[in-house]
Assembly symmetry: C2
Homo-oligomer: 347 residues x 2
């Protein structure tokens, strides 16, 4: 226990025999102070067990070094990967990201955002909870704090969004399945209150349209965006009179659920039923059979979001361009050809 009451800059000044201003300068690494003085001060800092009070500093500086990251579902490994990319660039910029989880709950999100604002964050990176109202960020924008959306966007908002090219990804995946000979296709999981859902489903439908899959042969099953949701989707689809032979899933979690449900029925993904996921989380590659998925370069999107954020802070603006990240289809084992309709496909 170095000291009872917490030490301040004045205690250091006294200890080192200089003024508080000098200590402040040392703390900020100013080149104005004589090296020997700096050494003396730093020793004093060590001796009194000082911890910097950023709250007090921000009172004057008006520019904090923390940015908030507000995530709708921390249990999805996808977001951990996103966070990794962000942390890389923030660390280099001397910015500390604080993460908070909203658990897909708009009320909780409101509280969390309020807290972060009160804490004086310099900016906010948000993956908004489902059901977020457009007004939720009005006050934050009004306060001049930059916000960027990651992965998800809000319908009517002018807040910049960093997201993968969901439409194109879905087109790629759907074309792949059709080229494999599948003619009765399904889209599994998610629900239409999500912009991402509409984009991905839109790509799916467009590819079906273009390549001549009639509407009657398309099955759309909404559901939770989790393993459990995926399992349910498959059961629903297989109960149909003319079940699909392949499915594009809203995300990898849903795809994993579908594969588990297949195994329960003693069917094999890639042989008896083709499955394609979305996001290409690390696990996709290690699954068995390995999951074909749309890779969105999660960490890269995180980096991009962080960069955009830094630029906004620096230029004191609350506006920025959207950024649509490139996607690619990673073909693995789970998306084999339709057994009843083999077509020659080199891939």
């Amino acid at each position: 226990m170095a000291s009872r009451a917490k030490a301040t800059i004045l205690d250091i000044a006294r200890e080192a025999g200089v003024s508080k201003s000098t200590v402040s300068l040392v703390l900020q690494g100013s080149g104005l102070i004589r090296p020997e003085t700096a050494v003396k001060v730093r020793k004093a800092i060590e001796d009194v067990g000082y911890v910097y009070n950023r709250g007090a500093a921000n009172l004057r500086k008006a520019h904090s070094n923390v940015i908030g990251m507000v995530i709708n579902d921390l249990t999805n490994p996808f977001f951990a990967e996103l966070a990794v990319g962000m942390e890389r660039v923030f660390q280099a910029a001397g910015v500390v990201p604080f993460i908070a989880n909203t658990a897909e709950n708009p009320v909780r999100q409101e509280e969390v955002l309020k807290s972060m604002m009160e804490q004086g964050v310099a900016g906010l990176i948000v993956s908004p909870a489902r059901g977020t109202t457009p007004g939720a960020f009005r006050r934050i924008e009004a306060a001049g704090v930059p916000v960027v959306f990651a992965m998800r966007r809000l319908p009517e908002s002018r807040i910049p969004a960093i997201a993968p090219d969901n439409h194109r990804g879905a087109v790629l995946a759907t074309e792949h399945l059709i080229r494999k000979g599948h003619r009765r296709l399904a889209f599994f999981g998610g629900s239409s209150d999500l912009v991402v859902y509409r984009e991905r489903l839109g790509g799916f439908l467009e590819a079906c349209e273009t390549l001549g899959i009639p509407a009657a042969d398309r099955t759309i099953v909404e559901g939770e965006t989790s393993r459990k949701g995926g399992m349910a989707c498959l059961e629903t689809a297989l109960a149909l009179a003319e079940p699909p032979t392949a499915a594009l899933c809203f995300n990898d979690a849903v795809a994993f659920g579908v594969m588990l449900a297949l195994r329960r029925r003693n069917l094999e993904a890639g042989v008896d039923f083709a499955v394609v996921g979305f996001d290409d989380v690390a696990e996709a590659e290690h699954y068995s059979p390995a999951l074909t998925s749309v890779a969105v370069d999660t960490a890269g999107l995180g980096e991009r979001a962080a960069h955009v954020m830094l630029k906004m802070i620096q230029s004191r603006t609350t506006r920025a361009e959207d950024h649509i990240g490139a996607v690619s289809l990673v073909v693995r084992e789970s998306s084999g050809p339709d057994r009843n309709n083999q077509v020659g496909d080199a891939a």
Copy 2:
């Protein structure tokens, strides 16, 4: 945009025609102010787009409402579950948890802890990164900020730890495998620089000892605590002259890896090789075959840790009792009997 420069308590006072002290009282929900006045003030708060400055407040109050949660690996769903439990109790107490990831890197951890201290957190819940030195928390303790360890503990530290009964869990799991007729047992994953590892391995060895499994029939393979690590462990073990027929894994991630590696070899977990995990993450139940695992009541531990933290803050102490959480073995499909050594076991 309500206003250019951010509004303060004085702007509200002017707007509402009261003094700043009155506004402060309203903000704190004091019962001393007349209801009509409170209403008037609250309206003004709304009108000027005020956001509370907690930094300034803490300057006087010395008691913040944020506690920091420092996690070694955010990609492990286990920690998300832990966070869920904590958030439940913190929310009720009006405390906001900020999460930061150290990615198992002690240097990063140092930075993150420093940042949180500077931010003036009221307490810290930490799952320390591997390789954390005992001195890492000296300054924090000296500053009188309560710290509790969750899941992991440090060898020589007197900081209270909330963790499951790792030893007992390993004993339960090992006894289960032996009762199933297995005689050549393995312990997969982890490494001996982790206290948790030593506890779990200790339980494994003790059960082997007690139930008469000679040291020659025990295989211990250290490895990464991930799917990939688990896959490597299985390969190593099966390459032995007399390979084991069952394994207790350091955690579920390792167990999933082992099961994937088995499938690659066309072996089935629970039939050709018994696998038991540790932690019982949500996924264990949904895997195929479903994974037998030691349930540690993750969310419950999170709640407990949060409660201990709150009590420490309240009583201004930096000391508390350790808490060892009860564990139970959840038997599912992955831990079938030894095919070559069937014994009558009702379970």
